[in-house]
């Protein structure tokens, strides 16, 4: 089957790739672009481990085709830290032990960063519902929610 040529932007860098028309964005990121931060927990849109942003909108990259990235902007966990430093969410996740195994962490970080950009002052319930599509089997979510709430408070204080 002939491959499709795609030009897109990933974490601010322009990239080009060839992909099979059936290939998901998640497979493209992981297998063609070497960005294995996004994880496949289910491949069916149920776990959120593959979360990325598409033009600023949170999507499951396992439900998106690689070909759909043409001309768009993709954001992954690899783009969250700046060149010099970790994002405040990343620091708080480490400090709060908001990860045990860490497989859900990339998706949860992408999702919560996206939340805080839209809503810098979420309630606990808002965080819980925003993250309802990101499964974590290890933590019981307690420390994740606390880390997000504390980051939000800190970022509000700083801005």
């Amino acid at each position: 089957m002939s491959q499709i040529h795609v030009t897109t932007t990933v974490n601010g860098d322009e990239v080009e790739f060839l992909c099979d028309p059936r290939e998901t964005m998640l497979d493209v990121l992981r297998d063609r672009l070497g960005l294995t931060g996004a994880k496949e927990g289910c491949g069916t849109g149920d776990c959120g481990a593959c979360s990325v942003t598409l033009d600023g909108r949170l999507v499951c990259s396992c439900l998106m085709l690689g070909a759909e990235a043409e001309g768009r902007e993709i954001g992954t966990v690899e783009g969250i830290a700046t060149d010099e430093d970790l994002h405040p969410l990343q620091k708080k996740f480490i400090e709060y032990a908001a990860l045990q195994c860490g497989i859900c962490t990339p998706g949860i970080l992408v999702a919560t960063k996206n939340l805080l950009e839209k809503n810098p002052d979420p309630t606990e319930t808002e965080v819980r519902y925003w993250l309802a599509g990101n499964l974590c089997r290890c933590t019981g979510y307690d420390k994740i929610i606390r880390a997000v709430m504390d980051t939000a408070a800190e970022m509000r204080g700083a801005s």
């Binding site: 960005l35 294995t36 927990g41 690899e78 032990a97 045990q100 195994c101 965080v127 994740i144």
Partner: protein, 749 residues
């Protein structure tokens, strides 16, 4: 201090909460998990699985698939070792079916191609002819007369005569005379309970990358709880020498017991051998549900007699567990854990291991124990209810303590159940007012914990920092706790220890990370390796000073002269000794190898408030408190995390999660949409209380903490539901339809 004492105070690093060393890797996407590895020339493997619960494999036609573009290898059972016996045979039979497919999802043939799309396309072109056989998936039906036999002759000698051939192992334990005990009781309650199978639900599916050459040398990269076990099992299944395989454990995205088993690694090796190229296999989520180990489902009868003052006079339990199409359901653990929290004069427990047409069960966090607690603690709750007794006082009255005889035989060493119950009683949660429609439940839980074969190595760098190599994969922060124990013992900063998970070629055998053994056993070995290092450091100092080795002690990261030489020389810091070690005798490396047997058991008490919606039957957990004995919490934040994670998994098991089989024996909910694990919006914060009753078997008093936390929730929630809605559920999960049915039955009188 002496090297054989339990240290209980004066800690500098242990008990603090430093950032984990692998934190940055895991928040930036840099950490490499099972599916994140690639190799030059790598192929992708796909496994074709049986769509039938029980079927004879008549013919496998791969000709069309093999002719497809990009396809390089196909393997069936014929490509694995023959003549295996015992558990190796069971594992091989599970990894790749022989003559018969034994459950929906059983592997039948595998194919490798240049891309995963090509492999999937080719897999669809493989034609397997089956003769469908009668099947059974229910535990009670599987042991009833007339049930289809899964495999003749699978039973071992423990099974009494006259039972169905699907009953493959039998357990009996206890002491005293239960009939006399029941006669002494003022109230005897006997009830039957059932729990459905649940899956560990780790978010990372099984994944591996394997290479095997025809010289028999191979490499495996995989997500596993035990890479030495992968090495041993793969060598046996491929018929090669163990040392020719080197296995590296990737970062692991959750396991909870489910990654103690081997599924895809031998298949990837066999494909690689045929194709002479590396092969990667990554399971899909539905493969994880259909073909990797769920828990056993159970059917249980529990009978308990109690006096009016709350004294339990006798207890009896019968526990039937189906473990899928192979022996191994952990029914002896269910039986042994059932009454472990209580000091009983008369107790009897019986277990049955039953085969059925389901996937081979695998360990899941305290395997077998949560179900037992569900049945036993429900009956105790009912007895307290009917006799008007306080739930915690009654449990305290009967609690196991140091010196009492355990229900399964041994005499308890120092244990912390009373301390947990007292802490629960004192917790504000226990007496907080409830809103209408809410109910409160409590439950105790027990797990043995484990030691196991362990080898650790500690190499000193020339600047005085330390490289610690352990053999137990870091599943939730153990690099941090190992570094803390090493730093504590050596008297150096936490940051000066780097912990690495070594591969199988680097250390001696390390048993799987199971049984909550890592902080206990690898921790103990780390402390002992540090002590070995210190002895070597002291020796160098003694030689430099020209004094006796015995006259040197180790204080705060320095060698100091002691005894008659005290004060004669300035303390010699670790960095100074390290700097000159090349000239004073060569590299300094401490190590320790043992099978520690002093893993202290652990108890917990959970308090939960639940709210039942009488309209929909849905239950919401509104408040949750975990109280558990950790012995000594090395990194309290990660201990809390274990408590919270176990509670959350228990909540899922109690309320939602279950394997649903159709009449055709096929699994109907093999995905996270239909097998619903708790999501963030389902749960409240989970409060934790760390009780510390030191384990005499560990230098710092550590007890394993990972598993006990899943034992009490099923019962605690059932008891809360009973208090909230006035109906007692005897079957898990307590899903809305079941609760509604119970409410309707109650309304009908």
């Amino acid at each position: 201090m002496a090297f054989d004492e339990t240290k209980t105070e004066g800690f500098k690093v242990v008990g603090t909460r430093p950032n984990r060393p692998d934190g940055i890797d895991k928040v930036t996407g840099r950490a490499r998990f099972g599916a994140d590895a690639t190799a030059p020339g790598m192929l992708h493997g796909v496994i074709v699985r049986s769509p039938h619960a029980h079927a004879r494999i008549l013919k496998i036609d791969t000709s069309e698939a093999e002719a497809m573009k990009g396809v390089h290898a196909v393997v069936t059972r014929a490509d694995f070792a023959t003549g295996l016996t015992g558990e190796n045979w069971n594992i091989l039979e599970n990894v790749m079916a022989g003559e018969t497919a034994l459950y929906d999802g059983h592997a039948v043939v595998a194919i490798a191609a240049t891309s995963s799309l090509a492999a999937r396309d080719a897999a669809k072109a493989i034609v397997v002819d089956y003769e469908v056989l009668p099947h059974v998936t229910d535990v009670d039906k599987a042991m009833a007369e007339g049930a289809p036999v899964i495999r003749e002759g699978a039973a071992d000698k423990s099974v009494p005569a006259g039972l169905h051939p699907n009953v493959v192992r039998y357990h009996e334990s206890g002491h005293g005379d239960v009939e006399t005990g029941f006669a002494e009781a003022d109230l005897v309650i006997e009830d039957s309970f059932r729990t459905e199978a649940t899956h560990q639900g780790y978010i990372e599916p099984h994944a591996c990358l394997a290479q095997l050459g025809n010289d028999g040398r191979g490499e495996i990269w995989c997500c596993t709880q035990g890479h030495w076990n992968v090495q041993k099992v793969c060598a046996a299944l491929l018929g090669i020498e163990t040392s020719k395989l080197r296995v590296t454990a990737s970062e692991i995205g959750g396991g909870f017991g489910g990654k103690t088993a081997v599924f895809i690694e031998p298949v990837a090796l066999a494909l690689s051998l045929k194709a002479n190229r590396p092969v990667k296999i990554v399971m899909t989520r539905s493969e994880c549900f259909r073909a990797t180990g769920p828990t056993s489902s159970t059917s249980m009868d529990v009978k308990i007699g109690m006096k009016k003052d709350g004294t339990i006079t006798a207890a009896k339990g019968v526990f039937r567990l189906q473990g899928g199409a192979f022996p191994g359901a952990p029914m002896e653990f269910t039986a042994m854990c059932a009454f472990a929290p209580y000091n009983l004069a008369n107790v009897s427990q019986i277990g049955f291991d039953v085969m059925s047409n389901r996937p081979k069960q695998a360990a899941y966090r305290a395997p077998g124990s949560p179900m037992a607690a569900f049945a036993v603690e429900s009956v105790i709750d009912e007895l307290c209810e009917q006799l008007g007794l306080d739930r915690i006082e009654t449990r305290l009255k009967n609690a196991s303590k140091e010196g009492t005889k355990a229900s399964f035989g041994p005499t308890w060493d120092r244990i912390g159940l009373v301390e947990c119950l007292e802490a629960a009683k004192a917790h504000p949660h226990y007496t907080a007012p409830l809103k209408p429609g809410q109910g409160r439940g409590i439950s105790c839980g027990f797990w043995f914990n484990h030691g196991g074969e362990t080898a650790v190595q500690m190499a000193l760098s020339e600047d005085g920092t330390v490289q610690l190599s352990v053999g137990t994969p870091d599943i939730g922060g153990s690099r941090a706790s190992m570094a803390q124990m090493a730093a504590e013992e050596l008297g150096i900063p936490y940051e000066n220890v780097r912990t690495t998970i070594a591969d199988t070629a680097t250390l001696g055998y390390n048993e799987i990370s199971h049984g909550s053994r890592v902080t206990y056993a690898s921790g103990l070995a780390t402390i002992e390796a540090a002590r070995d290092t210190i002895r070597k450091l002291c020796k160098r100092a003694a030689a430099k000073w020209g004094i006796d080795e015995e006259a040197v002690s180790w204080v705060d990261g320095c060698a100091v002269p002691s005894g008659p030489n005290a004060g004669d020389f300035d303390p010699l810091p670790i960095a100074r000794i390290a700097k000159s070690m090349g000239r004073t005798g060569g590299p300094i490396v401490g190590h320790y190898e043992a099978t520690p047997e002093g893993a202290g058991v652990s108890f917990a008490t959970h308090i939960v408030d639940a709210e039942v919606d009488p309209e929909t039957g849905s239950t919401r957990v509104v408040r949750y408190t975990v109280v558990q004995d950790a012995g000594k919490a090395i990194h309290p934040t990660y201990v809390e995390g274990q408590y919270q994670g176990g509670a959350a998994q228990g909540i899922g098991w109690a309320l939602n999660e279950e394997y649903i089989y159709g009449a055709d024996g096929r699994l109907q909910n093999a995905g996270f949409l239909d097998y619903r694990i708790p999501v963030a919006s389902d749960l409240p914060m989970i409060d934790t209380v760390i009780v510390e009753v030191p384990n005499p078997g560990h230098p710092y008093g550590v007890r394993g903490v990972g598993e006990t936390s899943i034992c009490p929730p099923l019962a605690a929630i059932a008891n809360a539901v009973s208090a909230a809605a006035g109906v007692r559920l005897h079957e898990l999960p307590m899903s809305p339809p079941r609760i509604l049915a119970a409410l309707e039955k109650q309304a009908a009188g």
